[in-house]
């Protein structure tokens, strides 16, 4: 199983632990990730605010390179995945758009290379048994509130799971031996840029997420989007101060959990880089004798 790998800007900077854990997880699962040479930024939210053709052409160049290599593209970050998928659909659905894009990127792109969310690959393509088999250290003690965010599973054409009630991350965490909780804010927006631009509204949105996760009995949040992790992890302290609440809920990338379960060194996964201390829970999990007899 070989994929072209598109890390995207976040995974080379603020979301570095997402990149580290992705590579580790792929190594263990035997997924060969071929990083797209000189990939360019997918344009994320600013791209399609400025110009529609620009927002399609940017990811198209990366997809074109992957297509020349005959590979589908594995994309961890939700925003990059959404942009790339839109480009792929635009090219497949209209010949004129494809021609326009090909003129801009001066390459051929017929839409044969498919944009695939990393979560979709690991949770849906790879059988649960294969994952269980690879689990070295069951995640006893993890009660995760799986947070998909508003971009990963919507709209229907782009998403790979039920837009209202997605289950793929939940199933993955369960096959890693962890527990998940049923809570209402799975797909509610984390505020994206609001916490920085309109802080009171942004913090209110985050507070509601933490509140709902807390009520549901979760002791940590799991996400697949660097923007969401930023907001949930970095701003948890400010929200606690503003609303004088105590959450201290670590926020993981799902690839960190898979790495952890596969027995990879926590620091190799970047688990020590979180704002809300994650190592406490991690050590608890490692201590709990969930160790499996086998290696």
């Amino acid at each position: 199983m070989k994929y072209a790998y598109f890390p995207g800007c976040s995974l080379s900077s603020t979301g570095i632990e997402y990149d580290l854990s992705t590579r580790e997880t792929a190594r263990v699962l035997g997924i060969d990730l071929w990083e797209i040479p000189e990939w360019n930024c997918c344009g994320a939210s600013s791209g399609h605010l400025t110009d529609h053709l620009l927002s399609l052409a940017l990811p198209a160049r990366n997809m074109a390179i992957a297509e020349e290599a005959g590979l589908d593209v594995a994309i961890p970050c939700a925003a990059c995945y959404a942009r790339s998928k839109n480009t792929e659909l635009a090219v497949c659905n209209s010949a004129e758009m494809r021609q326009e894009i090909e003129e801009v990127i001066e390459r051929k792109y017929e839409g044969k290379a498919k944009a695939r969310a990393l979560l979709d690959i690991i949770a849906n393509d790879i059988q649960a048994e294969v994952i269980k088999e690879k689990v070295h250290k069951e995640l006893k003690g993890i009660k995760a509130a799986c947070y998909y965010g508003c971009l990963l599973v919507r709209p229907l054409a782009v998403g790979f799971d039920d837009p209202e009630d997605p289950q793929s991350m939940d199933n993955l965490v369960k096959s890693l031996g962890g527990e998940t909780v049923d809570w209402a804010y799975k797909t509610e927006c984390c505020g994206a840029s609001c916490p920085t631009t309109v802080p009171e509204t942004g913090k209110k949105m985050l507070e509601r997420i933490f509140e709902s996760a807390k009520n549901a009995g979760a002791n940590c949040l799991v996400t697949a989007c660097p923007m969401c992790l930023n907001n949930l992890d970095m701003r948890q302290g400010q929200v606690e101060k503003t609303y004088s609440k105590k959450y201290d809920m670590p926020v993981f990338y799902f690839t960190e959990l898979t790495g952890l379960a596969f027995g990879v060194e926590p620091t190799k996964l970047g688990l020590n880089k979180h704002f809300v201390d994650a190592m406490g829970l991690v050590n608890e999990v490692l201590k709990a004798d969930g160790r499996r007899e086998t290696a």
Binding site: E164, D165, A184, Y185, N215
Partner: protein
């Protein structure tokens, strides 16, 4: 040359506003054959028709061309008009210069006038070629078929039976009653639904002229008005109806329990069951999918306990073919499958239910004996939230139309909640409140004032569980702020859609249906209960969302129409049928497989052929069966087969009239 009279209608300003009618009348004077051409404000009005009759006499016209609205609307009117003046009805030809001209070319007046002239020219050319036709008579079988045994079907059957006609009601479910049997109270009078329905059901079952054919479906419909040969599949009940007295022993003894569809899966029924206590016929039927005997071959308790030996596992589906003169379709509606609205959490949260579930909860003979209890934990809910327009008025995910009845039954539900549960709070999310019937507005106001139901104008964006509460998040557009309500129970007022197999039934019978699969009436205003297929009538929600008063009114209307048809032993048929010119026909039989009504077959004729009498095959059209589609005329290479009123010559004349 035929003397043609041309009459251009202004239709008030509908045509006159765009088409220069006097000019068209003037130009028409020069068309070959036209001897009299005049325009008038309203041709279809009394003075307009008088004008035509006078002109026919004074100018001794052979043909009349009326340029006005669509023939689908006033062709019968003008045919009768010319007939009264002594001219053959089929000498009248119409040019549609309203729907096809003035209304659609409003901004291009002169082009529209030019087009009107062309259309009149075509009509004149065709009229000249028209031959006198007489309506033929075909026998009418004095028996009616009602498809669907809900309130509409029952009402139609009763009216037909009281008028002395024999009626068969075919009902898919084991008992008649339809959706109304599930309902508790009816708005706006709040009288109990069963109390007004069951007497009619009893009347229907005991009426000498009505036969109930329940647990059966229409398999095939052949023939035509007055002579519909309908094949009905009587599904195997596994109970011999003639022997069974409905004592109910078998039902009590039957071990296997199944979710009851009638109770909206809120409670159980047995594998051998009657859908509800007041079922008519009150004799059980075995649900073969869930009966252990049919699944594994063991059990058979019901047969053992039945003292009269009425249980018969070997029963097979039975096909009955009967001839009917008229068909009334009243197959009713179903609730819209709103699982597309994941955001309401239906199916995930048991306390999010639909209006019909609520009807069963408040129904005295329902699963909770009338006590409103939450399906999840059986507690009596305090805060009940109603969400209207679920699936209706939503082009993106649901249906584009308004389902008409939800506003009223949601108001009714709100009233009943406040009545039955003290200090309960009722919230209703709505876009608009539509109270278009007698006493409806007053009922709605009473719900708001006396029963202080909270009407919140806004849509609900999400329903999610928090603890054992259901948080309903929406917006209140009047206060323009977000709203969150902790509810104990949420009731969705889902849209009304036709039965899932409506389009299949329509294709079997040969009637039209619209994009939402509601059956298409002949004309929304002028013929709401008729269909384009003569002898087939519509009643109730199968034709569009409707409440009970309208369904009953439509049912009686449909019955009246059917009575009009069945009252005569013969009826006049459209003379527009195919006819064979035997001198040209060579008997090749290419036309025979074309006819969908099997109206053509080959017959042997004998004739003199140069001194010898010879016998040869020629095609023969059965005038009664032929419906005049004309597909056979194209298959006939030598033009021996022609369709009256749309003959090759007539159509060629119309085409030639266009030539430059």
């Amino acid at each position: 040359m035929k003397r043609v009279g041309v009459f251009i209608c202004h239709c008030g300003t509908n045509i006159g506003g765009v088409v220069d009618c006097p000019k068209v009348a003037e130009i028409a004077k020069d068309y070959p054959g036209v001897v009299y051409s005049v325009d008038n404000k309203y041709m279809c009005s009394e003075p307009g028709q008088e004008l035509i009759k006078k002109a026919i006499k004074e100018q001794n016209l052979d043909r009349v061309v009326v340029a006005s609205c669509s023939p689908r609307m006033h062709e019968p009117t003008f045919r009768r008009c010319v007939e009264n003046a002594g001219m053959n009805a089929y000498f009248m030809e119409m040019a549609n210069i309203r729907e096809h001209c003035s209304w659609v070319h409003a901004s291009e007046k002169d082009k529209a006038t030019e087009k009107a002239c062309d259309l009149v020219k075509m009509a004149v050319a065709k009229a000249i070629m028209n031959k006198p036709l007489q309506k033929a008579t075909i026998p009418v079988t004095d028996r009616a078929l009602v498809i669907g045994g809900g309130i509409a079907g029952i009402q139609a059957a009763l009216d037909l039976a009281n008028a002395g006609h024999v009626v068969d009601i075919v009902e898919k479910e084991p008992s008649i009653g339809g959706k109304m049997a599930q309902i508790d109270k009816t708005f706006p009078t709040l009288d109990c639904s069963a109390c007004i329905l069951t007497p009619k059901m009893v009347d229907a079952s005991s009426h000498p002229n009505i036969n109930l054919i329940t647990y059966s479906e229409v398999e095939k419909v052949e023939g035509f008005v007055g002579n519909f040969d309908v094949t009905i599949r009587k599904k195997a009940r596994s109970v011999d109806m003639s022997v069974c007295t409905g004592c109910g022993v078998c039902m009590s003894k039957c071990p296997s329990k199944v979710d009851s569809e009638f109770e909206m899966l809120l409670s159980k029924r047995k594998a051998i069951y009657t859908p509800f206590p007041q079922a008519i016929p009150n004799k059980p039927v075995i649900d073969r999918d869930n009966c252990t005997y049919f699944k594994t071959g063991k059990c058979g308790i019901c047969q053992k306990v039945c003292t009269l030996g009425a249980i018969d596992y070997t029963q097979e589906d039975e096909f009955v073919v009967t001839r009917y003169g008229a068909i009334v379709i009243s197959t009713g509606f179903e609730q819209f499958d709103h699982s597309v609205y994941g955001e309401y959490g239906y199916g995930k949260y048991p306390d999010v239910i639909t209006g019909m579930h609520f009807e069963r909860l408040i129904n005295a003979s329902g699963p909770t004996m009338g006590k409103i209890k939450r399906p999840s934990d059986g507690k009596v809910p305090k805060n009940v939230v109603f969400i209207k327009c679920v699936g209706s008025r939503d082009v993106a995910k649901g249906k584009s139309y308004c389902s008409k009845t939800c506003c009223m039954y949601t108001a009714k539900h709100a009233t009943l909640v406040t009545e039955k549960i003290e200090d309960s709070n009722v919230y209703i999310f709505y876009m608009d409140v539509r109270t278009g019937g007698k006493g409806y507005e007053e009922f709605y106001n009473r719900t708001r004032e006396k029963y202080d139901a909270q009407y919140i104008r806004g849509r609900v964006s999400k329903v999610f569980k928090q603890g054992d509460k259901l948080i309903v998040r929406g917006e209140d557009t009047l206060l323009s702020q977000a709203v969150e309500i902790e509810a104990d129970m949420v009731v969705l007022a889902t849209a009304m859609v036709p039965q899932a197999d409506a389009s299949k039934l329509a294709q079997k019978i040969g009637i039209g249906y619209d994009k939402d699969h509601f059956f298409t009436e002949a004309h929304p205003k002028l013929a709401p209960v008729e269909t384009h297929t003569q002898g087939v009538y519509l009643a109730g929600a199968c034709q569009g969302p409707k409440d009970i008063p309208e369904s009953v009114a439509q049912a009686s209307a449909a019955a009246a129409k059917a009575c009009g048809l069945l009252s005569k032993s013969e009826m006049l048929t459209e003379p527009i049928i195919s006819v064979v010119n035997e001198s040209i026909c060579v008997g090749c039989g290419l036309c025979v497989p074309i006819c969908p009504y099997k109206a053509i077959d080959l017959k042997t004729i004998s004739e003199r052929d140069h001194g010898k009498t010879i016998e040869r095959l020629v095609a023969d059209v059965n005038g009664g069966l032929c419906q005049g589609c004309g597909a056979c005329t194209v298959a006939c290479r030598s033009g021996a087969l022609d369709l009256k009123h749309f003959t090759d010559q007539q159509i060629l004349a119309e085409v030639n009239a266009l030539c430059l």
